[in-house]
Amino acid sequence: MRRPGARAVWALHLAVILLLLGLQVVVPPFHQIMLARIMVLAVYAIGYNVLLGYAGLMSLGHAMLFASGMYATGLTILYFGVGAGAAFGLGVLASAVMATALGLVTLRASRVSFLIVTMMFSQAFYLATLYFNEITMGDQGFIISGQLAPLRAGGREFAFSDPAVKYNLALVVFALCLMLSVWLTRSPIGRVLVGVRENEERTRLLGYNPLSYKLLALIASGTIAGASGSLYTLMFSYVGSSFASILYSIYPLLWTLLGGTGTTLGPLLGTALMTYVVDIASGLTSSYLLLVGATLLILIMWFPAGVMGGIRTRWARWLP
């Protein structure tokens, strides 16, 4: 029997996707591009939220997983000329493998130790992208726009340079990842993850193996993050080591905290808010990071659990 509110939950998320589908025909071209980028990065935040919001594990190593997807996709296109679909699949696979390896090593640690160990591995990955610069082109990076063949479907070709293709590609991947996260959080697995987050010992006493569930969450989180990195490469044609730097581990943390940890729509909202605040503030002053910081502080004061977390607490407790 379905839990109360299940229909409303699915309807809400479907409505968000339909809203995004419709927005592309009403917003000006610049905002269409912005929204496409936001959706790609929101996928990254969704992945991060699976680990932080539901398993309660705060990682500073996700840049490694995001960049694994980027590099696997970019390098296979650059050196082997593989098609976009296969390159995307390889990007997702690479990040899943990296997440598994990371989890097997780091999940013995918890809380702050986990944070630090994941950061160390991610920094090692970042330095490796610099060290093997003859392959990765180091911090300068490389572009794939000349090597990437257009997508073919239904006898038609879709060029990645087409803004509509970018937007709808981002929307498809975003919609899939959003629905996957909704399903995951409402599934028995998701319930166990919440149990692990709230009280790991009690969950163990109930017969579950917390380590296995945390590993599962990390693999799901890393795979989704890698899908985002891979898609970013296909859409914007660039891969560089800056995407493996610690900043790209901090970004999804900020987006998730701002939008609301442990909420399915929080990552999208947080990513959109941060992206637009940075864009607007940088047009007003060169000290825009100060404005961004002040905005974040105000939002956190009003919504300590993030925007969607605040809405859930105050007005809609049924929100996942």
Partner: protein, 445 residues
């Protein structure tokens, strides 16, 4: 809301005949009107004064106001603003004033691509220009190509000339690293020594030096004794100096970033008075006062400069005019704040590139950001072979190779004497030339 620079405010004012004649008179009086190419500001002013006010040409300025490139960005913006102000005083571009539309990219590749989109799609600028850092250029260039908007960079990286980017990307205002290295290598081997050890940062900028000096020196009868790559996170350099072969005659360094003071200090501690000849690229010390404590050990060493920081290094009226207009004193610092040292060897590229845009617009008949007008502008620019020395190109004449969208200019070698840089050699343009390895003209528009 558009953030409008000082140059923009000048642009927005209607240029009076009196102001225009005054500007032209100042130039004529200074004896620097024109240049080899026959450019005549007075004529431009007359045309502009005779025409009614027209819609401005909007030039998106992708600037590193924050992030690691902020020191360069500050001076790039001042230089671009000074050039825009001058062009507007001279009557604008094809009688239309310039409006600079600056956007900070944070010296970040992702934000760089976003800024290109914002300038092209939101601000609807005619052209985008001004980017310096290689990773920002490389990340932004594909978006400029997809949006089909000409993108003029002032980066000095080899990425434009390598053919890796696209037909919309040009670098007409500054010589690339490969050409710089090729240009100075002959003097280096002949005057300082044949056995060279290289110390360079372990990322893109360093690799261009590693690869191209590594090719040039053996061809001149010299040898690269060792190539020491230093990770960007390194804070101590003594262990690298210990790996410098004992028979090294020249230590070639291109260290950049905040660690440069430590680098120099530890170099002095390691080698002391019995040091090899030392040759560096001024990139390490752009924005840094050579009289800063800790840099004493550089006395007597040599540096590459693209444009001599200290007045008198290249004493032409054009250089003097440019220096005064940008607001740089004889020691290479701001006239308002002598502690604010400029990035003199790079920022002239912003000045010159803006004049290249002016020339390309006026010669091609460009009017609107349409595919037809862009095609005319790009094809016109690709046909240009020389940019003549003058107030538009104060650093010197430049050979432009349309195949690779890259300019080649003279370079300078200076020696540190009394904590100042004194020019000891000026290369010829021919010293820097290399065969093009790409042809952008074959790419469709």
């Amino acid at each position: 809301m558009e953030h409008v620079s000082e140059g923009t405010r000048v642009a927005s004012e209607k240029i009076s005949r009196r102001a225009a004649i005054k500007a032209a008179g100042a130039l004529v009086g200074a004896g620097i009107v024109g240049g080899v190419g026959g450019f005549s500001p007075a004529a431009s002013v007359s045309r502009a004064a005779a025409q009614p006010a027209r819609t401005p040409i909007k030039i998106g300025f992708q600037v590193h106001r924050t992030g690691i490139g902020a020191v360069y960005g500050r001076w790039y913006e001042r230089t671009a603003t000074a050039a825009a102000t001058l062009i507007n005083e001279m009557g604008g571009i094809a009688g239309r004033p310039i409006q600079l539309v600056p956007e900070d990219d944070g010296t970040d590749p992702r934000r760089g691509a976003e800024v290109v989109e914002k300038l092209a799609v939101h601000h609807k600028v005619d052209f985008i220009y001004g980017t310096l850092f290689s990773h920002v250029v490389i990340a932004s260039a594909p978006r400029a190509g997809e949006l089909k908007i000409p993108y003029f960079v002032v980066s000095e990286g080899y990425h434009v000339a390598s053919g890796k980017l696209n037909r919309y990307v040009f670098q007409p205002g500054i010589t690339d690293v490969r050409a710089q290295v090729t240009g100075i290598s002959g003097w280096l081997v002949k005057n300082l020594g044949k056995k060279i050890t290289m110390i360079f940062p372990d990322y893109a900028f360093g690799y261009d030096h590693r690869d191209f000096l590594g090719r040039a020196v053996p061809a001149l009868g010299g040898t690269i004794q060792a190539r020491l790559a230093i990770p960007p996170t390194e804070t101590s350099f003594s262990k690298y100096f210990a790996r410098v072969p004992a028979d090294t005659e020249v230590l070639y360094h291109v260290m950049v970033g905040p660690g440069v003071l430590t680098f120099v200090k530890e170099m002095g501690e390691h080698f002391g008075a019995r040091r090899p000849q030392i040759f560096g690229f001024i990139d390490s010390l752009e924005g840094v006062d050579l009289a800063s404590p800790g840099l004493e050990y550089l006395e007597g060493t040599h540096f590459w400069e693209a444009f001599p920081r200290y007045a008198g290094g290249y004493p032409t009226p054009h250089e003097r005019f440019y220096r005064d207009r940008v607001g740089v004193n004889d020691a290479g610092a701001s006239v308002r704040d002598p502690k604010d040292v400029s990035t003199y060897s790079h920022m002239f590229g912003c000045w010159e590139t803006l004049f290249v845009i002016k020339q390309a617009v006026e010669q091609s008949g460009y009017r609107d950001p349409t595919p037809k007008d862009y095609r005319a502008l790009i094809e016109t620019l690709e046909e240009v072979q020389w940019f003549n020395e003058g107030i538009q190109h104060p650093q010197g004449p430049k050979k432009f190779v349309g195949q690779i969208h890259q300019s080649f200019g003279q370079q300078f070698i200076s020696k540190v004497e009394n904590r100042r840089l004194k020019v000891v050699h000026r290369t010829k343009i021919e010293d820097s030339l290399y065969p093009p390895e790409a042809d952008y003209r074959k790419q469709p528009l």
